[in-house]
């Protein structure tokens, strides 16, 4: 349906006057340079000052300045034309590029707005049309009003193109109602719960500790002094159980502090989370200081991922994400920046069911999962528990010889409780996991302590993999993995594990009947 025919795509520029970026773009290029390039320079400066090679550093400084100036002028030189069926972008000072972005090919329109952007009422807009590894059209920065208008123009054009190759099943009734409806809006209570559940603070603290230990900011002797201090506080005369108690106590204190940090992080990231429905499209927006957001056509979603688990159940919340094609850049941490990732970061299960029904037409609440192999729990536990037992016995014997019976007893106790936990959680896992099949969806649920439910659009499955390991063969069991266009190399494929082999084969046969997209 490419109505932009050959003549239109000549090298000549259109007659109409081009549009430019907002002049403040210079400021934002400078700001981003400051945040990316200059920290390294500062480090180099600090490191360089110790040696006497100031002139080398001066060279680097001049280079960095030139680079910064170049990127400012390079950005400012961008011109763009919004034509009836495509956007034309001309950019580059030395390295000139003329880029055609057909409106019908624009997959994602995402924007990023930090505090500085909000102060000036501007926004950084990105148009993505391909695989999403880098965005084809980057507008840094334009006014918010122009960005909204541009998005409306693109959507307006796409609504008029019924046979769009990627988004085809948009029914006319839906298409004619561009009015937007808020499907979900987060409350602070939701986000506090999310922070407590997700515990992202742990990651931050871990990373901070790692960098502290890598950099020479803390002197080596500091750690030693800390160790000496800890030992002096503890004394030496106490038995192993005293150490265990102290370890557990300090762990608890750290956990509480980290949870508080996590809540702050959740609020920073998701404050004022909004999910809107515009006809057949979904759009989200969130962030306390940095407002980020993105949108997608509903029929581009490959799968919904609902995160649940013990903590989630205690707080009566779930987290729902979407898997979209073209987010392969997620491995490089790009996903959070561009496009839409969350349907709702923290909702009650009932709310989630309503949302999923609305967005994908699936009634999760009434769905009955088919069970795994009856001996799945046994299969999951067998080798890990035997391994733990063997390791526990060896270490306990060694501790008995090297130290004392008390230490051996403590190790035996820890091993036994780990084994008990493994047995128990695997039993719960096996009971909670399963799969369900509807005309349109394949639902996979896995886990109990931390549970994931994949709601996969069957028409989006690219490849089915039936697998059997030597450990499966005796029962016999098999797994089915589904390959989608979404996700990334580092995330696992949605997989149903520990199925009875016969069921797995039968399911493969059913799933092979592919429906048209």
């Amino acid at each position: 349906m490419s109505s932009s025919s050959g003549n239109n795509k000549t090298r000549e520029l259109p007659a109409q006057a081009p549009e430019r970026l907002h002049p403040l773009s210079a400021l934002f290029v400078l700001a981003s340079q400051l945040f990316t390039l200059w920290p390294f320079l500062l480090v180099a400066l600090v490191a360089g000052l110790r040696k006497d090679d100031g002139w080398e550093f001066g060279g680097v400084l001049v280079g960095a300045l030139a680079l910064t100036l170049y990127s400012i002028f390079n950005t400012l030189s961008m011109r763009y034309w919004v034509l009836p069926d495509e956007i034309l972008i001309k950019e580059g000072l030395f390295d000139r590029t003329l880029r055609h972005i057909p409106l019908e090919r624009v997959q994602n329109v995402s924007f990023n707005q930090n505090v500085l952007h909000r102060m000036f009422g501007v926004v950084e807009l990105q148009l993505e049309s391909g695989a999403g590894l880098n965005s084809e059209g980057k507008f840094k920065v334009i006014t918010l009003a122009r960005a909204k208008q541009l998005e409306a123009e693109i959507r307006g054009f796409q609504r008029l193109q019924p046979a769009n190759s990627s988004a085809s099943t948009e029914s006319p009734a839906q298409a004619d109602t561009p009015s937007s409806e808020a499907l979900y809006q987060s409350s602070t209570g939701d986000l506090v719960r999310l922070g407590l559940i997700e515990n992202k603070g742990m990651v931050v603290v871990g990373a901070a500790l790692y960098f502290l230990s890598q950099s020479k900011l803390l002197p080596e002797s500091g750690y030693k002094q800390f160790g000496v201090w800890v030992r002096s506080q503890l004394g030496v005369a106490h038995g192993p159980f005293y150490y265990l108690a102290v370890a557990l106590g300090s762990l608890l204190a750290i956990l509480i502090a980290v949870r508080v940090l996590s809540v702050a992080l959740a609020i920073y990231r998701f404050h004022g989370f909004q999910l809107h429905e515009h006809g057949s499209r979904l759009r989200v927006e969130h962030g306390l200081l940095n407002r980020t957001g993105g949108g997608t056509a509903k029929d581009r979603i490959c799968a919904f991922v609902m995160h649940d688990g013990l903590l989630y159940r205690w707080f009566n919340r779930v987290r729902v994400e979407v898997m979209l094609p073209g987010q392969a850049g997620a491995a490089q941490g790009e996903q959070a920046k561009t496009g839409m990732r969350f349907l709702a970061p923290s909702v009650t299960p009932a709310q989630a069911h309503v949302l999923l029904d609305r967005c994908s037409g699936i009634n999760l609440a009434s769905l009955r999962l088919q069970p795994l192999h009856p001996r799945a729990a046994y299969r999951m536990s067998k080798w890990p528990v035997m391994g733990m037992a063997a390791a526990g016995v060896v270490i306990a014997l060694w501790a008995y010889k090297a130290w004392s019976l008390q230490w051996a007893a403590m190790i035996a106790l820890v091993t036994a409780s780990l084994m008990a936990w493994t047995l128990y959680s695997n039993r719960r896992d096996a009971k909670a996991s399963g799969f369900a099949l509807t005309d349109r969806h394949l639902v996979i649920r896995e886990g109990w302590f931390s549970q994931v439910t994949y709601i996969i659009e069957r028409a989006e499955i690219q490849e089915l993999q039936l697998k059997q390991s030597p450990f499966d063969r005796g029962y016999p069991m098999a797994s089915i993995a589904t390959e989608l266009r979404a996700g990334s190399m580092v995330t696992a494929m949605p997989t149903i594990r520990y199925l009875p082999a016969g069921t797995a084969c039968a399911l493969m046969r059913v799933l092979q009947r592919v429906q048209p997209t």
Partner: protein, 166 residues
Amino acid sequence: MNPISRYESKLALQGIDQRQRFFTLLGMVLVLWIPAAIVIFATKILAISIGAFVLTFLLSLWVWHYCTRYYRSFGYALLADGVWIESGVYWRKAVFVPRVRVQHTEVNHGPIDRKMGLAKLSIHTAGVHSGSITIPGLAEARAHELRDQLLQRKSPALEAAADVAA
């Protein structure tokens, strides 16, 4: 050969050309025996020479056995809605690629393949994890035939979609 599909309905899997084992032989010479020969002849201690020889010999036997089983385990079947490809000795894996999900295909043959009149057929999908699957050891004519059959796109689902579009 123990296809996974035996548990429910037996598929009529077609095997691949067992001359593929030549590649095993070649790999064994390059990866195992050349380094081993260097050790065997370079060292001045007889025990090490003998040890290296015995070890390499045993390893070769196992590799030969494993690769023979691996190539025998390879099977494929062209089904109504796509292609089924199965392989693996210890960890068995069967991949089904729906016909409508095939992005593009490649028929590839290296110099040794050409000498033996063989080819590999690679089927690419838009999946992010594997994205492609290869059937080695096909007779050249068979590889082209299989590709044509796969790309014929005579799935009823697609015909229905074509009707809607028309």
